[in-house]
Subunit: 224 residues, 2 copies
DNA sequence: CTCTGTCAAGAGCACTGCTCTCTTTTGTGC
DNA sequence: GCACAAAAGAGAGCAGTGCTCTTGACAGAG
């Protein structure tokens, strides 16, 4: 029967999820460095070798957590977006805040995706789509409004890359605007990382005001 | 005699340096995660426990490497600076390039300082001074020239932080300019991190053109 | 020469990721 | 209902890790 087969698979899927959940909980406590397969198994009342029926290696477990984290921060950004009714600028600012809020409440998960890459190099191909969700949310802010296009000399290589992106995103924006969007995207995560990783300690230690200000200036910077 | 005592201390200092050098070499190969005290000791022809006469823990060794790395990237930035004879804008661009070049040739050392923080939380106090060298090099670019000051509303908390920085740096710049400098600083390392950590893969994969363009736009952005 | 502080060496502990073999459980075709 | 095959868990074991503790060698000071 398909039902019994499904029962097996369902049990498997459930345990796979439980392992990930427990791993995520330990991740929040001890970070990626301290995450131990044996500890996860211990907490779940099983023996360490049994984990390997579900994840071929520790790195593979981490890679799955990475994909989940990308989706989680992407969803946080999308949830923060007030939607088409709101003014584009307000949407932009809300997404910035929502992204930062998620990062601050999930510092270790954030570090997993935007910190130094895992030794086993998480396959970029699996992560490239979920990783772009925050950026896409920001871009969506602009598609249904006409932003004042910005002129500016853009070197040929960058112009080519920008045009490829323009087509892929279906956005009406010149190369200078696209490159500014990339800079704003970099600024968003650069600021979050600097804050979370302690780089702002000597200068703008509570970085809330600075972050909010950056969000505004970057909105103007891209022509919003 | 002081000489004999110095001989002892000199031997000790030499071995300490040799351990750090070997550790740095292994760091470049296997990254911070893979750095093993026992492997370092093995390569140096000594036994692992002997290392503990020089470094109380693995984390402490890493912390020392962190300070060295901050100084190295700071020195790279300073070396790239053509000096007071050159135009401020050219100095700015050269420092951006020099910083990125060092990061690209020392990816693991870069990840050590600008990636996810070490589990044992490298004491920020020890690193705050060497960590500011790159930023200081950028600021020096502006001190001996008058940059067109930028007006703009700055919220009170950020204004206060900016004024504290203005005094500490002895720079003639309003709060808006200072906050833009902080944004440029964030942009510099955000872009380097995104490039090195594979975040640009789907968009601006060879990021050279984009980085150079960002350096220009950020120079304008701060009023240079 | 003796005493004292420094250093390297080695054994050992508790832990890790991972592999292997063995046994138990589970679902299915007859 | 039963035998068989696939899946899953248990346990031992390997090689490696950071770190501690004890032991023995050596150099400088009195």
């Amino acid at each position: 029967m398909t039902t019994s087969r499904t029962a097996r698979e369902r049990a498997r899927a459930e345990l796979t999820q439980e392992i990930k959940d427990e791993a995520r909980r330990q991740l929040a406590e001890v970070g990626a460095h301290g995450l131990s397969l044996r500890a996860v198994a211990r907490e779940l009342g099983m023996v360490s070798s049994a984990i390997y029926r579900y994840f071929p290696s520790r790195d593979r477990l981490l890679t799955d957590l990475i994909v989940d984290a990308y989706n989680a921060i992407g969803e946080a950004a999308e949830q923060a977006d007030p939607g088409h009714d709101a003014a584009p600028r307000d949407r932009w600012l809300a997404i910035w805040q929502g992204t930062r809020d998620w990062a601050r409440t999930h510092p270790h998960e954030y570090a997993l995706i935007y910190g130094s890459p895992i030794p086993g190099y998480a396959a970029p191909q699996d992560t490239v789509v979920p990783a772009s969700r925050v950026a896409l949310a920001l871009v969506k802010t602009l598609t249904h409004t006409e932003l004042r296009n910005i002129d500016g000399e853009v070197p040929p290589e960058l112009r080519a890359q920008a045009e490829t992106l323009t087509k892929a995103l279906g956005i009406l924006a010149g190369p200078e605007t696209v490159s500014r969007l990339l800079m704003a995207w970099t600024q968003l995560f650069g600021a979050i990382s600097f804050d979370l990783f302690g780089q702002y300690v000597g200068s703008v230690d509570p970085a809330d005001a600075f972050f909010a200000h950056s969000a505004k200036r970057m909105a103007e910077f891209v022509g919003l």
